[in-house]
């Protein structure tokens, strides 16, 4: 039995990438909406940028953060402390490497602002690496790949067939007498078969003597069959119906006078003479 297999090969080389701006639509975001789909994705860095809006003498604290997926605190939290004296309109641009952790550990992200101020034009980008062989079954080239078991043969339930009413009725009609009769019939058939074999051997011995009779019988049978076939064939003519009521003369003789056939006249006359001679000859015999 043959099972379908992969005839192509995927690249199993780890690769890197970056997300789009997670804060494009607001200061809160879901990582599921930001990250691509591969399961073997580890986030290894956060890049963010924003402009602080505040009064020079105010203190504003900004947190760029991600919760842990299991809800136990933060997996990433960066604090920007804008102290009094820092100017309105100053941008911050940070690239923060983090210990690579699988995407499953990263919960929702947000920018939290504490104090009299706000952030403007925020950009938050995650950098990541993807190991295609995170799932060894991704490719036969992955370490730990196991050849998949062939699919089990499906079990088809035929019991519905016996659920049909008419089948159940037939089953109900079977009784002991019928079974006994079937067994008796079977034994009789076997006996008959044995007798026939014996007869055939006897017939073979007498075959040479009876060949002519057999041939005659076969010929008679073939003639009967031919007659039957003819009779069957004639029935279609009997049933035929000729269309129309009358058939007008369609041939017209254009000659006005037909000449006498002299050769015929002579021949007819000779016949007449011969006839008379024969008649007269009988009288001469007396």
């Amino acid at each position: 039995m043959l099972w379908p297999g992969y005839s192509y090969s995927e690249s199993i080389t780890p690769y890197t990438g970056t997300t789009g701006n997670a804060a494009q639509s607001g200061l809160n975001w879901s990582m599921g909406d930001i990250l691509p789909t591969p399961p073997g994705l580890d986030i290894n860095g956060v890049i963010y940028n924003y402009t602080i809006r505040k009064n020079t003498n105010d203190q504003v604290d900004v947190y760029v953060q991600n919760e842990r997926a299991n809800g136990t605190g933060y997996i990433f939290r960066e604090h920007d402390e804008w102290r009094p004296g820092s100017l309105d309109g100053t941008e911050i641009n940070k690239v923060i490497p983090v210990v690579p952790q699988n995407r499953l550990n990263w919960g929702d992200g947000s920018i939290q602002v504490e104090g009299e101020g706000r952030v403007e034009d925020p950009t938050v980008i995650y950098s990541y690496t993807v190991d295609p062989c995170y799932d060894p079954q991704f490719s036969p080239n992955c370490p730990g790949y196991q050849r998949p078991e062939p699919p089990e043969t499906p079990v088809v339930d035929y019991s519905y067939a016996t659920d049909l009413t008419f089948v159940r009725t037939e089953e109900d009609e079977v009784d002991v007498d019928d079974v006994y009769q079937e067994e008796q019939d079977s034994e009789d058939a076997e006996q008959e078969e044995s007798d026939e074999k014996e007869e055939m051997r006897l017939e073979a011995a007498l075959a040479a003597a009876d060949n002519s009779a057999l041939f005659a019988n076969a010929l008679a049978q073939s003639q009967i069959l031919a007659a039957m076939n003819n009779a069957v064939g004639m029935n279609s003519y009997y049933a035929a119906d000729l269309p129309g009521g009358s058939y007008n003369e369609s041939i017209v003789l254009v000659d006005k006078q037909l000449p006498e056939n002299k050769r015929g006249l002579r021949n007819g006359f000779a016949q007449q003479l011969l006839h008379e001679e024969m008649v007269q000859s009988q009288y001469n015999l007396k």
Binding site: D80, E81, G85, S86, L87, T90, I92, N93, K94, V95
Partner: protein
């Protein structure tokens, strides 16, 4: 500090060789070393002059210009000053019909550490046309340089290409 240390070691070697000079020839042993700067300056954006009227060239975005941006990357905290001087003349230009008046300024545009660099702008010191920033934190700081040139006597700038140069220097403390 590192240069001074190397110099002291060289002098000590000479004294030792002198004491044995009676029985052997003199020899000079070179000791070399390389010091990589902990302050690197990169031009992030070369500015562009706009020409809002016949006698003005300016980097103001609202008037068609684009300020220059220079970045200081510091890996050793509290060891350097950033000294930045906006241009005060054209390094290349057509022949000018009159004197040009220059105005300009420098300001912190972007920081990589709000806590350590957030007050660079308010703490800066001006020496004439030069602004000095004390780089007390490690990381990157982007400085924006603005410049405006105004032709004197209400005369027009002649047609041609103009280039002016701002100067950014990282000075060790």
């Amino acid at each position: 500090m590192f240069n001074k240390t190397i110099k002291g070691m060289a002098i000590a070697g000479c004294v030792a060789l002198s004491s044995g000079n009676i029985f052997a020839n003199a020899a000079e042993v070179p000791i070399t070393g390389t010091v990589e700067s902990r302050c690197i300056i990169q031009t992030d954006n070369a500015g562009t002059f706009g020409n809002p009227n016949a006698y003005t060239l300016t980097t103001t975005p609202a008037e068609g210009g684009d300020p220059a941006v220079v970045r200081f990357d510091v890996t050793l905290a509290d060891a350097y000053y950033a000294e930045i001087t906006p241009p005060t003349s054209f390094s290349s230009s057509p022949s000018l019909p009159d004197t040009v008046t220059w105005t300009g300024g420098v300001q912190v545009k972007t920081v990589s550490d709000a806590t350590g660099m957030g007050t660079y702008e308010t703490d800066k010191v001006e020496f004439g046309n030069t602004d000095r920033y004390e780089l007390t934190a490690t990381g990157s700081t982007w400085f924006q340089i603005d410049a405006t040139a105004t032709m004197g006597g209400n005369k027009s700038f002649p047609g041609g290409s103009y280039t002016a140069v701002a100067e950014a220097v990282c000075v060790a403390k």
